[in-house]
Symmetry: C2
């Protein structure tokens, strides 16, 4: 895993010009799916499987086979017609495109319940994301190690982030603190932020923010519950032909 390291630009396999061109053109949605394919492929590799067809892989990943092939075509042609894909080759290629050949140092801010959970993941699932810094306002927490890393005070955020070359900041603070923490991360040079706080962050446009919003997820589900209840209540006129092929429970 080799946690932090001296410099870290050219230690990793650099993208060749051809790939560089491609990376620019990959749709956002496809990037998310590539990460899923990667996980499925890693699992297959662990099971000793070394070849896979687009059909098999797509089913395991829960997507359309054509879409999968198109997604893979964005990163180049690495399959063999008539045979399928070499698992190892695909894994290493997706890893390269996603930038996983380089380690991304992660800082978690806000060591509450969620922060604890995140810190204890200890190098995020799928590794390549070592947590190297933890921050909180609470003086009582400072110095105490969580998941092996001692908590720093939030006022030291700039110094620590720069020193440990943090490239991804995770915000797990209460809502009111989120924007302020975000600003501090940004001025510490962090350009990628994963936000768990239910707040819309304002950032300069050179910073990438992704948000994980529990409340929103729940409310989307709630919407579907409501919609279904309504549809069920109005099954009188006749349903449209939109394929509700009724309760196929697959064990």
């Amino acid at each position: 895993m080799a946690s932090q390291r001296g410099e870290g630009e050219t230690t990793t396999t650099p993208l060749e010009p051809a790939d560089r061109e491609r990376a620019r053109a990959i749709p956002e949605a496809a990037v998310a799916r590539l990460a899923v394919y990667l996980r499925v492929l890693s699992g297959m590799a662990d099971q000793g499987i070394n070849a896979v067809s687009s059909e098999e892989l797509s089913q395991a990943a829960g997507v359309n086979a054509a879409k999968l092939r198109k997604d893979l075509s964005y990163i180049g042609s690495y399959g063999t017609r008539g045979v399928g894909y070499d698992v190892e080759v695909l894994v290493s290629h997706i890893e390269r495109i996603l930038g996983l050949t380089r380690n991304h140092s992660v800082a978690v801010v806000g060591i509450g319940n969620l922060g604890h959970a995140l810190a204890n993941y200890g190098g995020f699932p799928g590794r390549g994301f070592p947590v190297t810094a933890l921050f909180d306002v609470d003086e009582d927490l400072v110095g105490i190690p969580v998941g092996g890393i001692p908590v720093s005070h939030i006022d030291d955020i700039t110094a620590v982030c720069v020193e440990r070359e943090v490239s991804i900041g995770v915000i797990a603070t209460p809502p009111p603190a989120a924007q302020s923490v975000c600003d501090r991360l940004v001025s510490a040079g962090v350009q990628c932020i994963l936000n768990f706080a239910p707040v819309v962050l304002q950032v300069p446009d050179n910073v990438e923010v992704r948000k994980v919003d529990l409340a929103v997820e729940m409310q989307i589900l709630s919407f579907h519950v409501a919609r279904r209840a309504d549809e069920a209540a109005s099954v009188s006129v006749g349903n449209n032909g939109l394929g509700v092929d009724g309760m196929v429970i697959r064990p």
Copy 2:
């Protein structure tokens, strides 16, 4: 459908036929944003603000003003031209569309670090989502209350979910257990699942699954880091006009 439960339709404000039609047509992406608008609006209501224009609201929510208006138009016309929107009216209308006038009982499965964090949220942010059941395989945990709710054994999942009318199941187990837990939730009649396990769940098509995948989020960020590093490395030929206006750090 409406699985079990005595009545449960008309306890809550029922959607009128006109709204029912509309709810069916709301794009998935818009639903997610409506939840965000709702939060922003609630905040405004708490601050005593009672009118807002699409411009203000859209900025606070971090979206385009035109998009916001279109999103709101999906749920009907509740603004006043020349003035804006009444905050209260909008809040209650979005709540109705999202089905938040009804309480959605939530079950959390897997009381590890993340499960603890979720249970301790204690009725999810924005309320309306009371956590009413917790499950784990670990016998040592069974009976111990977490966040006020005693943990049940996972083998009792069907009985407990039916009894407590669970409508949303949250999976926070280790990956290998996720599919099995999911199957059990489904056979207990749970139709909405929020999945934190890094696994692609296979479900019948009457079940709605949303996934929150830390690893994928991190890898998407990683991709952007890599893409940027590459773009920065190839600033020699000349950048395209696609607005990278260079490192504007706003404090």
